[in-house]
Symmetry: C2
Subunit: 540 residues, 2 copies
Amino acid sequence: MDTDPATPADSDERPDDPGSDRSLEDAYDALLDRCRRWNAVSSASGVLSWDQQVMMPEGGTPARSKQLSALSSLEHDLLTAEETGDLLEEIDERSGDHAADRSDDRGETLSAEQAAVVREIRRPYERADAVPRDLVEEISEASSEALSVWERARADDDFDAFAPHLERLVELKREYAEHVDPDRDPYAVLFEAYEPCLPIERAEAILEELRGTLVPLIDAIRESDVDLAVDTFEGTFPEERQEDLAREALDLLGYDFERGRLDVSAHPFTAGNQFDCRITTRFDESDPLSAVGSTIHEFGHARYTHGLPREHFGTPLGDSRDLSVHESQSRLFENHVGRSRAFWERFLPTFREHFPDASDATVEDAYEAVNQVHPDNRIRVEADELTYHLHVLVRFEIERDLVRGDLDVADVPERWNEGYEEYLGIRPENDAEGCLQDVHWSHGNFGYFPTYSLGSVMAAQLYAAAEAEIDAGEGPDLDARVAAGDFEALHEWLHENVHRHGARYETDELVRRATGEPLSAAAFTDYVESKYGELYDVSP
Amino acid sequence: MDTDPATPADSDERPDDPGSDRSLEDAYDALLDRCRRWNAVSSASGVLSWDQQVMMPEGGTPARSKQLSALSSLEHDLLTAEETGDLLEEIDERSGDHAADRSDDRGETLSAEQAAVVREIRRPYERADAVPRDLVEEISEASSEALSVWERARADDDFDAFAPHLERLVELKREYAEHVDPDRDPYAVLFEAYEPCLPIERAEAILEELRGTLVPLIDAIRESDVDLAVDTFEGTFPEERQEDLAREALDLLGYDFERGRLDVSAHPFTAGNQFDCRITTRFDESDPLSAVGSTIHEFGHARYTHGLPREHFGTPLGDSRDLSVHESQSRLFENHVGRSRAFWERFLPTFREHFPDASDATVEDAYEAVNQVHPDNRIRVEADELTYHLHVLVRFEIERDLVRGDLDVADVPERWNEGYEEYLGIRPENDAEGCLQDVHWSHGNFGYFPTYSLGSVMAAQLYAAAEAEIDAGEGPDLDARVAAGDFEALHEWLHENVHRHGARYETDELVRRATGEPLSAAAFTDYVESKYGELYDVSP
């Protein structure tokens, strides 16, 4: 950010410049107005992206690309406009440490909430302002090229074809990080695009802890004689009935269809805002539990979004905290609710209504089926609750070392295969099901993967705290409520402690206020060791 | 438009200002770039509107309004930016009559096509530039208020509740017209928003001619003993089968589903661009012919949009001519194809496949059923091919007189009822089914209604010309082709003569090039007198 205060000469040229007559409150309101504008554009882009993935006919791509790129450039212009910087500067001067030094200090201050809003606006402004527009466009073009090369390379199992594009993206992203802060670890800077409020060292320590817990636990499971495969959930389960079942699950959990929709897309996702947040899912006719799990996962995202304060739409108080917090909400419902015995006590009769062939399935059957661990699976998006994090760990280590310059692109396949060997005891058969399996790097999204695991860790910590508080209160305990299909207390706890705050608190502060502790892997470790220890008859 | 040429001082402040080094070609390219940007925003808004009417859950309105209003204001900013005016000025000076007077004239000229593009960009720029932004926002707020009052007023049959809002909108729109041109008939100025290339006098003369033809023809039909009601098409026709049938009709006509979709909405409409143009329809279980007709109508719109040159997306050469030309394409298919014997020769077997109860229907039955005239119908959107235009005529006369100050809002209901009495021999039972039936005036859209009739008139003229040319060529005549389900020659003719030109020619020029004559009601008169004379056994 340009830290020079606006000069009078500058001011004369801007019709809406306040001069010195504007109060701090007015400057704050003006900043908020601008923020609402770029967020309206950003949420409009979100509608276009949803449409592109769910509704758009194939031929629509050329027009859609132009629409999205025009909106993205307008959003960038609104965010980085000189006026944004001037307002931030003005607010900073009047309310911050500078104020005391100024002769015209009026003793104005921002409330803690307003200060949080300014902090959350300043962060993306400074980042966008620091990076030259040409570089942003170069990255966007390079990724769009890389994406189509990656699609072919994966189909042809041809890493060499993708390698130069990956190399280029690593270079461009390093350059990007250098513009943001030349003195810091570039991977840390890139990670902050997705997780701005959690230092990379904290994230790395949590991932280390996960590895320490999960590698031996999964080893033990591999050695265990227990087999959780359940025949009842194998066969053919027609798509329409699966969709009906997914809707039943959403109704049971309390998804608000008046502010959302359920559709089908190639990759399940959730998109929208507090007024209109939509879920997608997909169906595999041979695996009815997969769509249930994925729908419940997306429900968690949507419930968070629906719970953001409506009156703050378009401002940080009405926006979600970052990726790990969002993922915590989806993982909480997917794993702690949807993979619990209690949930299946309530939901199995519904499942059997839709699939009478499964009429002899027991709650224990369902519980075992949704909690099977597959250490031999090589594909992240098909991974179970435990091995998932080792898939993430391999990717995290590779992308971190690439960005830090400690790994050559040419060595990625071997490093990938070694990582799988080391953590999961398997090797991919080829690069298509190895280091070419995920789309993220072809978007240049280095630093994204860790947020998946951080979200699971946070989910365990939040669920434990919710459970403790609900169980200590009056009425049935949380497990009994879930078994009765009563999610009210859980929703209330999440709303009170997470959703209603928007981006008011930084991540650790949010978690600390909700659970009494900063984010750590402790609750997750307890949860998986106890659950899977029992299921597979192994001790940690 | 500000007609002062850019001063050097102005130029210094704009980083992309050409100074005097920019060639005419460069200035033209820069203008086109800007135009593509505002059109990308405008077409993005189109996606949001489609979504709102087809997909959006009810709760989404507050966010959607903010998104649409942000985009509309950005589009306006891009269109009216100083740079747009400067570029138009620069191009005008270098290529126009001014050029000869300038010492630095480089003898550059625009091609006829480029000149057309500049003309089509200048027109909306000058209009937007002439009207103060505050007034635009005032109109937008007043209409949004009027819209919700109108909804209640119609439900309650309470014109008095709506009257002050209508009054306000008339005033604001008169003010708008005054800004655009204080010396001209304000209704003519408003009409130009929808139909910029056809003088209101021409439009009015055509509407007069329609009245002269249709009032006696409908009188004669009312007196005729012929009854075209066909029992076969009465009963219950399930919605899903109607949808299958609508898709069959679209397939038969050649709708490109890879660049479009068919969905259901409260009011059928078509929206999109040459890469992605979508149709909606609606189903009435008691009337299967209505959805067929409405789907064919929308097909005509979509076929036009799909036929616009892809390489010119976002510029006038890739955009459609105005409302009457668009409506000519929908009416051509709805009336001249979909209401013909030939079409039903091909389509009736398909209809009977989907509705076996209608298996004894003959082509003549279908032809009569789709061409019934209902002089006692009071609702425009339910009107037949003939009475439709008298509904339009009543509205046209009222809105014209309101805007010109020749009619008071308080007198609208009486004037409406008199108009219906005079033209159709009926009186609405109340204002809800009278002057409150249409949404247009609550949007402040004065000048829109005539384009519906102009479109039908143009459709008849274009179809007659296409038929003459195809019939004069080799192979079967057009009627035989339609009966065989072969629309290739018709599509080619329309593409060659209408679609591929985008907004290259002004309306009359387009029609003249296509048909050899400027737009007139002659072909329409011939068509309806011959067709309905035969059907109802009446002579004009």
